[in-house]
Protein backbone atom coordinates (compact mmCIF):
# COMPACT_ATOMS: atom_id res chain seq x y z
CA UNK A 1 0.00 0.00 0.00
CA UNK A 2 2.73 2.43 1.01
CA UNK A 3 4.75 1.56 -2.07
CA UNK A 4 1.80 2.18 -4.36
CA UNK A 5 0.95 5.54 -2.81
CA UNK A 6 3.49 7.73 -4.69
CA UNK A 7 2.13 6.40 -8.00
CA UNK A 8 -1.52 7.24 -7.35
CA UNK A 9 -1.12 10.85 -8.44
CA UNK A 10 0.72 10.24 -11.75
CA UNK A 11 -1.76 7.50 -12.74
CA UNK A 12 -4.73 9.70 -11.90
CA UNK A 13 -3.25 12.49 -14.04
CA UNK A 14 -2.68 10.08 -16.89
CA UNK A 15 -6.28 8.84 -16.72
CA UNK A 16 -7.60 12.42 -16.64
CA UNK A 17 -5.40 13.33 -19.60
CA UNK A 18 -6.63 10.35 -21.63
CA UNK A 19 -10.23 11.15 -20.70
CA UNK A 20 -9.85 14.82 -21.69
CA UNK A 21 -8.33 13.84 -25.03
CA UNK A 22 -10.91 11.24 -25.97
CA UNK A 23 -13.83 13.55 -25.08
CA UNK A 24 -12.29 16.23 -27.31
CA UNK A 25 -11.78 18.59 -24.40
CA UNK A 26 -8.06 18.64 -25.17
CA UNK A 27 -7.18 19.20 -28.80
CA UNK A 28 -4.48 16.93 -30.18
CA UNK A 29 -2.99 20.05 -31.76
CA UNK A 30 -1.82 21.05 -28.27
CA UNK A 31 -1.36 17.76 -26.53
CA UNK A 32 -1.83 14.28 -27.99
CA UNK A 33 -3.65 11.58 -26.08
CA UNK A 34 -1.44 9.31 -23.96
CA UNK A 35 -2.49 6.41 -26.18
CA UNK A 36 -1.20 8.24 -29.27
CA UNK A 37 2.09 9.01 -27.51
CA UNK A 38 2.44 5.34 -26.66
CA UNK A 39 1.73 4.23 -30.21
CA UNK A 40 4.20 6.82 -31.57
CA UNK A 41 6.75 5.45 -29.17
CA UNK A 42 6.11 1.87 -30.28
CA UNK A 43 6.22 2.83 -33.96
CA UNK A 44 9.47 4.77 -33.59
CA UNK A 45 11.16 2.07 -31.58
CA UNK A 46 10.14 -0.68 -33.99
CA UNK A 47 11.54 1.27 -36.95
CA UNK A 48 14.75 1.71 -34.92
CA UNK A 49 14.71 5.45 -35.51
CA UNK A 50 14.17 6.14 -31.83
CA UNK A 51 17.12 4.06 -30.68
CA UNK A 52 19.57 5.65 -33.06
CA UNK A 53 18.52 9.10 -31.77
CA UNK A 54 18.81 7.95 -28.16
CA UNK A 55 22.21 6.42 -28.87
CA UNK A 56 23.64 9.57 -30.44
CA UNK A 57 22.21 11.81 -27.70
CA UNK A 58 23.55 9.58 -24.95
CA UNK A 59 26.92 9.48 -26.63
CA UNK A 60 27.03 13.29 -26.83
CA UNK A 61 25.97 13.60 -23.19
CA UNK A 62 28.50 11.09 -21.93
CA UNK A 63 31.44 12.42 -23.93
CA UNK A 64 30.65 15.95 -22.76
CA UNK A 65 30.41 14.62 -19.21
CA UNK A 66 33.74 12.86 -19.55
CA UNK A 67 35.53 15.93 -20.90
CA UNK A 68 33.93 18.55 -18.64
CA UNK A 69 33.76 16.32 -15.59
CA UNK A 70 37.33 15.11 -16.04
CA UNK A 71 38.61 18.67 -16.33
CA UNK A 72 36.51 19.81 -13.37
CA UNK A 73 37.80 16.96 -11.24
CA UNK A 74 41.42 17.54 -12.23
CA UNK A 75 41.31 21.30 -11.65
CA UNK A 76 39.29 20.89 -8.46
CA UNK A 77 41.87 18.47 -7.10
CA UNK A 78 44.64 20.85 -8.12
CA UNK A 79 43.21 24.02 -6.60
CA UNK A 80 41.95 22.12 -3.56
CA UNK A 81 45.33 20.59 -2.83
CA UNK A 82 47.78 23.31 -3.75
CA UNK A 83 47.49 26.85 -2.42
CA UNK A 84 49.39 28.40 -5.31
CA UNK A 85 47.08 26.75 -7.82
CA UNK A 86 44.09 28.18 -5.98
CA UNK A 87 45.63 31.64 -5.97
CA UNK A 88 46.44 31.36 -9.64
CA UNK A 89 43.24 29.83 -10.99
CA UNK A 90 40.30 30.11 -8.64
CA UNK A 91 39.43 33.78 -9.19
CA UNK A 92 39.40 33.28 -12.95
CA UNK A 93 37.27 30.16 -12.72
CA UNK A 94 34.80 31.83 -10.36
CA UNK A 95 34.39 34.69 -12.83
CA UNK A 96 33.72 32.32 -15.70
CA UNK A 97 31.30 30.40 -13.51
CA UNK A 98 29.14 33.49 -13.13
CA UNK A 99 28.55 33.71 -16.86
CA UNK A 100 25.42 31.73 -17.70
CA UNK A 101 26.63 29.01 -20.03
CA UNK A 102 23.71 29.63 -22.36
CA UNK A 103 24.79 33.25 -22.85
CA UNK A 104 27.79 31.89 -24.68
CA UNK A 105 25.71 30.24 -27.40
CA UNK A 106 26.26 32.96 -30.03
CA UNK A 107 30.01 32.78 -29.49
CA UNK A 108 29.97 28.99 -29.44
CA UNK A 109 28.22 28.94 -32.81
CA UNK A 110 30.77 31.39 -34.14
CA UNK A 111 33.69 29.30 -32.87
CA UNK A 112 32.53 25.79 -33.52
CA UNK A 113 29.73 26.23 -36.02
CA UNK A 114 26.79 23.99 -35.37
CA UNK A 115 28.80 20.79 -35.38
CA UNK A 116 29.33 18.08 -32.81
CA UNK A 117 32.12 20.22 -31.37
CA UNK A 118 29.67 22.93 -30.31
CA UNK A 119 27.49 20.38 -28.51
CA UNK A 120 30.48 18.83 -26.82
CA UNK A 121 31.65 22.24 -25.68
CA UNK A 122 28.28 23.26 -24.26
CA UNK A 123 27.75 20.01 -22.37
CA UNK A 124 31.33 20.05 -21.04
CA UNK A 125 30.91 23.61 -19.84
CA UNK A 126 27.67 22.80 -18.03
CA UNK A 127 29.17 19.76 -16.36
CA UNK A 128 32.49 21.36 -15.44
CA UNK A 129 31.51 23.78 -12.69
CA UNK A 130 29.42 21.62 -10.36
CA UNK A 131 32.19 19.04 -10.32
CA UNK A 132 34.97 21.60 -10.01
CA UNK A 133 33.39 23.45 -7.10
CA UNK A 134 32.39 20.38 -5.17
CA UNK A 135 35.76 18.71 -5.65
CA UNK A 136 37.49 21.86 -4.42
CA UNK A 137 35.30 22.11 -1.35
CA UNK A 138 35.51 18.39 -0.73
CA UNK A 139 39.28 18.52 -0.56
CA UNK A 140 39.25 21.62 1.58
CA UNK A 141 36.80 20.16 4.07
CA UNK A 142 38.68 16.92 4.70
CA UNK A 143 38.86 16.48 8.47
CA UNK A 144 42.12 18.09 9.71
CA UNK A 145 42.20 15.61 12.57
CA UNK A 146 42.34 12.68 10.16
CA UNK A 147 45.11 14.32 8.15
CA UNK A 148 47.09 14.87 11.31
CA UNK A 149 46.52 11.31 12.38
CA UNK A 150 47.65 10.05 8.97
CA UNK A 151 50.85 12.02 9.21
CA UNK A 152 51.68 10.59 12.64
CA UNK A 153 51.19 7.16 11.08
CA UNK A 154 53.78 7.89 8.46
CA UNK A 155 51.46 8.59 5.54
CA UNK A 156 52.61 11.28 3.18
CA UNK A 157 52.44 12.28 -0.46
CA UNK A 158 50.43 9.96 -2.67
CA UNK A 159 49.53 7.55 0.13
CA UNK A 160 48.09 10.33 2.28
CA UNK A 161 46.16 11.44 -0.80
CA UNK A 162 44.81 8.00 -1.59
CA UNK A 163 44.02 6.85 1.94
CA UNK A 164 42.64 10.07 3.44
CA UNK A 165 42.23 13.08 1.15
CA UNK A 166 40.43 11.46 -1.79
CA UNK A 167 38.03 9.30 0.25
CA UNK A 168 37.38 12.30 2.50
CA UNK A 169 36.48 14.46 -0.49
CA UNK A 170 34.45 11.77 -2.23
CA UNK A 171 31.02 12.53 -0.68
CA UNK A 172 31.30 16.12 -1.88
CA UNK A 173 32.61 15.09 -5.32
CA UNK A 174 29.62 12.80 -5.77
CA UNK A 175 27.23 15.63 -4.91
CA UNK A 176 28.93 17.50 -7.75
CA UNK A 177 28.45 14.54 -10.05
CA UNK A 178 24.71 14.43 -9.33
CA UNK A 179 24.32 18.14 -9.97
CA UNK A 180 26.33 17.97 -13.16
CA UNK A 181 24.29 15.06 -14.50
CA UNK A 182 21.27 17.31 -14.31
CA UNK A 183 23.09 20.09 -16.16
CA UNK A 184 24.36 17.59 -18.68
CA UNK A 185 20.86 16.93 -20.06
CA UNK A 186 19.82 20.59 -19.94
CA UNK A 187 22.84 21.63 -21.99
CA UNK A 188 22.34 18.77 -24.40
CA UNK A 189 18.70 19.67 -25.01
CA UNK A 190 19.70 23.25 -25.72
CA UNK A 191 22.53 22.19 -28.01
CA UNK A 192 20.38 19.75 -29.94
CA UNK A 193 17.54 22.22 -30.22
CA UNK A 194 19.75 24.91 -31.79
CA UNK A 195 20.71 22.66 -34.59
CA UNK A 196 21.26 18.99 -35.15
CA UNK A 197 20.80 16.33 -37.76
CA UNK A 198 20.31 13.55 -35.25
CA UNK A 199 19.52 13.00 -31.62
CA UNK A 200 16.43 13.35 -29.46
CA UNK A 201 16.45 17.13 -29.83
CA UNK A 202 16.48 16.84 -33.61
CA UNK A 203 13.67 14.33 -33.51
CA UNK A 204 11.58 16.66 -31.36
CA UNK A 205 12.28 19.77 -33.43
CA UNK A 206 11.65 17.88 -36.63
CA UNK A 207 8.31 16.68 -35.28
CA UNK A 208 7.37 20.26 -34.54
CA UNK A 209 7.80 21.14 -38.22
CA UNK A 210 5.20 18.55 -39.09
CA UNK A 211 2.96 19.16 -36.08
CA UNK A 212 3.58 15.62 -34.81
CA UNK A 213 2.73 16.43 -31.22
CA UNK A 214 2.86 12.77 -30.26
CA UNK A 215 6.53 12.46 -31.34
CA UNK A 216 7.35 15.72 -29.55
CA UNK A 217 5.94 14.35 -26.31
CA UNK A 218 7.86 11.10 -26.82
CA UNK A 219 11.06 13.15 -27.10
CA UNK A 220 10.31 15.17 -23.98
CA UNK A 221 9.48 12.05 -22.00
CA UNK A 222 12.72 10.44 -23.22
CA UNK A 223 14.72 13.29 -21.73
CA UNK A 224 12.89 12.81 -18.46
CA UNK A 225 13.59 9.09 -18.54
CA UNK A 226 17.29 9.50 -19.36
CA UNK A 227 17.65 12.14 -16.68
CA UNK A 228 16.11 9.80 -14.15
CA UNK A 229 18.42 6.98 -15.26
CA UNK A 230 21.49 9.19 -14.83
CA UNK A 231 20.30 10.14 -11.37
CA UNK A 232 19.78 6.50 -10.42
CA UNK A 233 23.28 5.73 -11.62
CA UNK A 234 24.73 8.51 -9.48
CA UNK A 235 22.73 7.29 -6.49
CA UNK A 236 24.05 3.79 -7.07
CA UNK A 237 27.62 5.09 -7.09
CA UNK A 238 26.98 6.95 -3.85
CA UNK A 239 25.55 3.85 -2.26
CA UNK A 240 28.55 1.80 -3.24
CA UNK A 241 31.37 4.26 -2.62
CA UNK A 242 29.90 5.78 0.51
CA UNK A 243 28.63 2.56 2.03
CA UNK A 244 30.74 3.30 5.11
CA UNK A 245 28.64 6.38 5.76
CA UNK A 246 25.46 5.64 7.74
CA UNK A 247 23.65 8.34 5.75
CA UNK A 248 24.04 6.35 2.53
CA UNK A 249 23.41 2.86 3.79
CA UNK A 250 20.67 0.94 2.05
CA UNK A 251 19.02 -0.72 5.04
CA UNK A 252 16.16 1.12 6.75
Amino acid sequence: MRRALPWVMPIALLVAWQWASSTGLLSSRFLPAPRDVLSAFVKLSISGELWSHVRISTLRALSGFAVGGGLGLALGLLTGSLRWAETLLDTTLQMIRNIPALALIPLVILWFGIDEMAKLFLVSLGVFFPIYINTFHGIRSVDRGLLEMGKTYGLSGWRLYREIILPGALPSILVGVRFSLGFMWVMLIVAETISARSGIGYMTMNAREFMQTDVMVVGILLYALLGKLADLLAKGLERYWLRWNPAYQTGQ
Binding site: T152, G168, R243, N245, P246
Partner: protein, 263 residues
Amino acid sequence: MQTSLSSKALLPEETQTRRGVAVEINDISTAYGTRTVLEHFNLEIATGEFVAIVGRSGCGKSTLLRLIVGLQGPQSGSITLGRAANSTGRPDVRIMFQESRLLPWKRVLENVVLGLQPALLPHGRKVLAQVGLAERAHDWPATLSGGQRQRVALARALVHDPSLLLLDEPLGSLDALTRIEMQELIEDVWRNRGFTALLVTHDVAEAITLADRVILIENGRVALDEIVHLPRPRTRGSARFAALEERILGRVLQRRSMEKEQW
Protein backbone atom coordinates in the same frame (compact mmCIF):
# COMPACT_ATOMS: atom_id res chain seq x y z
CA MET B 1 71.70 -3.89 20.61
CA GLN B 2 72.72 -6.90 18.54
CA THR B 3 72.11 -9.34 21.35
CA SER B 4 68.68 -8.02 22.10
CA LEU B 5 67.87 -8.33 18.42
CA SER B 6 68.93 -11.95 18.08
CA SER B 7 67.35 -13.05 21.34
CA LYS B 8 64.11 -11.35 20.43
CA ALA B 9 62.57 -14.32 18.71
CA LEU B 10 63.31 -16.65 21.59
CA LEU B 11 61.82 -14.62 24.38
CA PRO B 12 58.18 -14.82 25.35
CA GLU B 13 56.15 -11.92 24.04
CA GLU B 14 55.90 -10.09 27.33
CA THR B 15 59.60 -9.56 27.69
CA GLN B 16 60.52 -9.21 24.04
CA THR B 17 58.37 -6.13 23.68
CA ARG B 18 59.74 -4.29 26.70
CA ARG B 19 61.07 -1.44 24.71
CA GLY B 20 60.21 1.86 26.31
CA VAL B 21 62.35 4.90 25.73
CA ALA B 22 63.42 7.69 28.02
CA VAL B 23 62.20 11.17 27.15
CA GLU B 24 64.11 14.32 27.88
CA ILE B 25 62.42 17.65 27.32
CA ASN B 26 64.84 20.48 27.56
CA ASP B 27 63.96 24.13 27.98
CA ILE B 28 61.03 24.10 25.56
CA SER B 29 59.19 27.33 24.79
CA THR B 30 56.11 27.65 22.61
CA ALA B 31 53.67 30.44 21.98
CA TYR B 32 50.55 30.94 19.90
CA GLY B 33 50.77 34.54 18.77
CA THR B 34 51.46 36.54 21.89
CA ARG B 35 50.12 33.90 24.28
CA THR B 36 52.92 31.83 25.75
CA VAL B 37 51.90 28.22 26.32
CA LEU B 38 55.08 26.55 27.47
CA GLU B 39 57.92 28.61 28.89
CA HIS B 40 61.35 27.11 29.52
CA PHE B 41 59.66 23.83 30.17
CA ASN B 42 61.71 20.88 31.39
CA LEU B 43 60.64 17.30 31.97
CA GLU B 44 62.40 13.96 32.15
CA ILE B 45 60.61 10.67 31.81
CA ALA B 46 62.35 7.39 32.61
CA THR B 47 62.24 4.33 30.37
CA GLY B 48 58.91 2.55 30.73
CA GLU B 49 57.50 5.12 33.11
CA PHE B 50 53.83 6.11 33.06
CA VAL B 51 53.48 9.87 33.53
CA ALA B 52 50.20 11.75 33.72
CA ILE B 53 49.91 15.46 33.07
CA VAL B 54 47.04 17.41 34.57
CA GLY B 55 46.26 21.07 34.36
CA ARG B 56 43.55 23.48 33.35
CA SER B 57 42.39 23.87 29.77
CA GLY B 58 44.86 25.74 27.63
CA CYS B 59 47.81 25.13 29.95
CA GLY B 60 49.79 23.53 27.15
CA LYS B 61 49.25 19.85 27.97
CA SER B 62 48.17 18.90 24.48
CA THR B 63 50.75 21.18 22.90
CA LEU B 64 53.43 19.23 24.71
CA LEU B 65 52.24 15.96 23.15
CA ARG B 66 52.06 17.55 19.70
CA LEU B 67 55.64 18.73 20.12
CA ILE B 68 56.84 15.28 21.12
CA VAL B 69 55.13 13.53 18.21
CA GLY B 70 56.39 16.18 15.82
CA LEU B 71 53.08 17.68 14.68
CA GLN B 72 54.54 21.07 15.48
CA GLY B 73 57.98 22.36 16.32
CA PRO B 74 59.00 24.26 19.46
CA GLN B 75 60.14 27.87 19.19
CA SER B 76 63.17 26.95 21.26
CA GLY B 77 64.49 24.02 23.25
CA SER B 78 64.82 20.38 22.37
CA ILE B 79 63.16 17.01 22.86
CA THR B 80 65.36 13.95 23.00
CA LEU B 81 64.09 10.41 22.87
CA GLY B 82 66.27 7.51 23.95
CA ARG B 83 67.29 4.71 21.64
CA ALA B 84 64.66 2.05 21.25
CA ALA B 85 65.41 -1.64 21.67
CA ASN B 86 64.00 -2.54 18.26
CA SER B 87 65.87 -3.35 15.09
CA THR B 88 66.26 0.21 13.84
CA GLY B 89 66.84 1.83 17.21
CA ARG B 90 64.46 4.56 16.14
CA PRO B 91 61.73 4.91 18.74
CA ASP B 92 58.21 4.45 17.46
CA VAL B 93 56.01 7.18 18.92
CA ARG B 94 52.23 6.82 18.69
CA ILE B 95 49.53 9.19 19.81
CA MET B 96 45.92 8.61 20.78
CA PHE B 97 43.59 11.60 20.56
CA GLN B 98 40.37 12.45 22.37
CA GLU B 99 38.48 11.54 19.21
CA SER B 100 39.34 8.13 17.83
CA ARG B 101 40.21 9.60 14.41
CA LEU B 102 39.43 6.33 12.67
CA LEU B 103 39.04 6.57 8.92
CA PRO B 104 35.30 6.10 8.43
CA TRP B 105 35.80 4.64 4.93
CA LYS B 106 38.03 1.82 6.13
CA ARG B 107 36.81 -1.20 7.99
CA VAL B 108 37.99 -1.72 11.55
CA LEU B 109 40.87 -4.06 10.70
CA GLU B 110 42.05 -1.86 7.82
CA ASN B 111 42.14 1.04 10.25
CA VAL B 112 44.26 -0.94 12.66
CA VAL B 113 46.88 -1.79 10.03
CA LEU B 114 46.95 1.72 8.52
CA GLY B 115 50.35 2.46 7.06
CA LEU B 116 51.56 -1.13 7.41
CA GLN B 117 52.49 -3.77 4.85
CA PRO B 118 49.61 -6.10 3.93
CA ALA B 119 51.71 -8.98 5.28
CA LEU B 120 51.09 -7.66 8.79
CA LEU B 121 47.33 -8.18 8.58
CA PRO B 122 47.36 -11.26 10.86
CA HIS B 123 49.31 -9.25 13.42
CA GLY B 124 46.66 -6.54 13.24
CA ARG B 125 43.99 -9.14 13.82
CA LYS B 126 45.84 -10.40 16.90
CA VAL B 127 46.12 -6.94 18.42
CA LEU B 128 42.47 -6.29 17.67
CA ALA B 129 41.68 -9.44 19.62
CA GLN B 130 43.78 -8.14 22.50
CA VAL B 131 41.53 -5.11 22.82
CA GLY B 132 38.53 -7.44 22.66
CA LEU B 133 37.17 -6.51 19.23
CA ALA B 134 38.20 -9.47 17.07
CA GLU B 135 34.66 -10.08 15.88
CA ARG B 136 34.21 -6.46 14.72
CA ALA B 137 37.18 -6.62 12.32
CA HIS B 138 35.03 -6.20 9.21
CA ASP B 139 32.58 -3.61 10.49
CA TRP B 140 32.59 0.08 9.61
CA PRO B 141 33.76 2.42 12.39
CA ALA B 142 30.41 4.22 12.24
CA THR B 143 28.73 1.13 13.70
CA LEU B 144 30.93 1.11 16.81
CA SER B 145 30.27 2.81 20.14
CA GLY B 146 32.60 5.57 21.37
CA GLY B 147 34.42 3.19 23.70
CA GLN B 148 34.86 0.59 20.98
CA ARG B 149 36.26 3.22 18.63
CA GLN B 150 38.87 4.19 21.21
CA ARG B 151 39.74 0.51 21.57
CA VAL B 152 40.35 0.33 17.84
CA ALA B 153 42.45 3.50 18.04
CA LEU B 154 44.45 1.87 20.83
CA ALA B 155 44.92 -1.26 18.73
CA ARG B 156 46.06 0.90 15.80
CA ALA B 157 48.73 2.44 18.04
CA LEU B 158 49.76 -0.88 19.60
CA VAL B 159 50.15 -2.66 16.29
CA HIS B 160 53.30 -0.62 15.75
CA ASP B 161 54.63 -1.77 19.10
CA PRO B 162 55.42 1.79 20.17
CA SER B 163 58.24 2.66 22.53
CA LEU B 164 56.37 5.77 23.54
CA LEU B 165 52.59 6.07 23.68
CA LEU B 166 51.11 9.55 24.00
CA LEU B 167 47.53 9.74 25.22
CA ASP B 168 45.77 13.06 24.65
CA GLU B 169 42.68 12.76 26.84
CA PRO B 170 41.67 9.59 25.02
CA LEU B 171 38.95 8.79 27.54
CA GLY B 172 37.57 12.30 27.84
CA SER B 173 34.39 11.68 25.91
CA LEU B 174 33.54 8.24 27.28
CA ASP B 175 30.90 7.42 29.87
CA ALA B 176 32.07 6.58 33.39
CA LEU B 177 31.83 2.78 33.10
CA THR B 178 33.51 2.53 29.70
CA ARG B 179 36.14 4.84 31.03
CA ILE B 180 37.06 2.52 33.90
CA GLU B 181 37.22 -0.43 31.49
CA MET B 182 39.49 1.50 29.16
CA GLN B 183 41.72 2.55 32.04
CA GLU B 184 42.13 -1.09 32.99
CA LEU B 185 42.89 -2.02 29.39
CA ILE B 186 45.50 0.71 29.02
CA GLU B 187 47.14 -0.23 32.30
CA ASP B 188 47.18 -3.88 31.21
CA VAL B 189 48.87 -3.31 27.87
CA TRP B 190 51.30 -0.86 29.43
CA ARG B 191 52.32 -3.41 32.09
CA ASN B 192 52.62 -6.17 29.50
CA ARG B 193 54.55 -4.25 26.89
CA GLY B 194 56.56 -1.85 28.99
CA PHE B 195 56.43 1.15 26.69
CA THR B 196 56.80 4.64 28.08
CA ALA B 197 53.43 6.36 28.45
CA LEU B 198 52.50 10.01 28.71
CA LEU B 199 48.85 10.70 29.50
CA VAL B 200 47.19 14.09 29.35
CA THR B 201 43.96 14.25 31.32
CA HIS B 202 41.55 16.56 33.11
CA ASP B 203 40.66 13.86 35.55
CA VAL B 204 42.96 13.79 38.58
CA ALA B 205 41.55 10.43 39.71
CA GLU B 206 42.37 8.94 36.31
CA ALA B 207 45.91 10.29 36.56
CA ILE B 208 46.39 8.72 39.98
CA THR B 209 44.85 5.41 38.87
CA LEU B 210 47.25 4.99 35.98
CA ALA B 211 50.42 6.96 36.47
CA ASP B 212 53.70 6.49 38.30
CA ARG B 213 54.03 10.24 38.41
CA VAL B 214 51.47 13.02 38.20
CA ILE B 215 52.61 16.36 36.87
CA LEU B 216 50.72 19.64 37.03
CA ILE B 217 51.45 22.26 34.40
CA GLU B 218 50.74 25.87 35.27
CA ASN B 219 51.86 29.02 33.51
CA GLY B 220 53.90 26.99 31.10
CA ARG B 221 55.95 25.18 33.72
CA VAL B 222 55.85 22.13 35.94
CA ALA B 223 54.07 23.32 39.08
CA LEU B 224 53.82 19.96 40.81
CA ASP B 225 55.61 16.67 40.31
CA GLU B 226 54.13 13.98 42.51
CA ILE B 227 55.20 10.35 42.58
CA VAL B 228 52.28 8.00 43.18
CA HIS B 229 53.39 5.35 45.65
CA LEU B 230 50.17 3.34 45.68
CA PRO B 231 50.41 -0.37 44.76
CA ARG B 232 48.76 -1.45 41.47
CA PRO B 233 46.02 -2.15 40.58
CA ARG B 234 44.81 0.93 42.41
CA THR B 235 41.37 1.21 43.90
CA ARG B 236 39.69 4.56 44.09
CA GLY B 237 38.03 3.72 47.38
CA SER B 238 41.24 3.49 49.38
CA ALA B 239 42.01 6.22 51.90
CA ARG B 240 45.51 6.91 50.52
CA PHE B 241 44.11 7.29 47.01
CA ALA B 242 41.49 9.74 48.22
CA ALA B 243 44.02 11.72 50.22
CA LEU B 244 46.35 12.03 47.25
CA GLU B 245 43.52 12.98 44.93
CA GLU B 246 42.38 15.65 47.31
CA ARG B 247 45.87 17.05 47.66
CA ILE B 248 46.49 17.31 43.90
CA LEU B 249 43.01 18.57 43.19
CA GLY B 250 43.43 21.13 45.97
CA ARG B 251 46.64 22.27 44.38
CA VAL B 252 44.98 22.69 40.97
CA LEU B 253 42.04 24.59 42.43
CA GLN B 254 44.04 26.71 44.85
CA ARG B 255 45.81 28.31 41.96
CA ARG B 256 42.52 29.22 40.37
CA SER B 257 41.15 30.88 43.52
CA MET B 258 44.34 32.87 43.89
CA GLU B 259 43.99 34.13 40.35
CA LYS B 260 40.42 35.14 41.05
CA GLU B 261 41.53 37.22 44.00
CA GLN B 262 44.03 38.98 41.83
CA TRP B 263 41.31 39.94 39.43
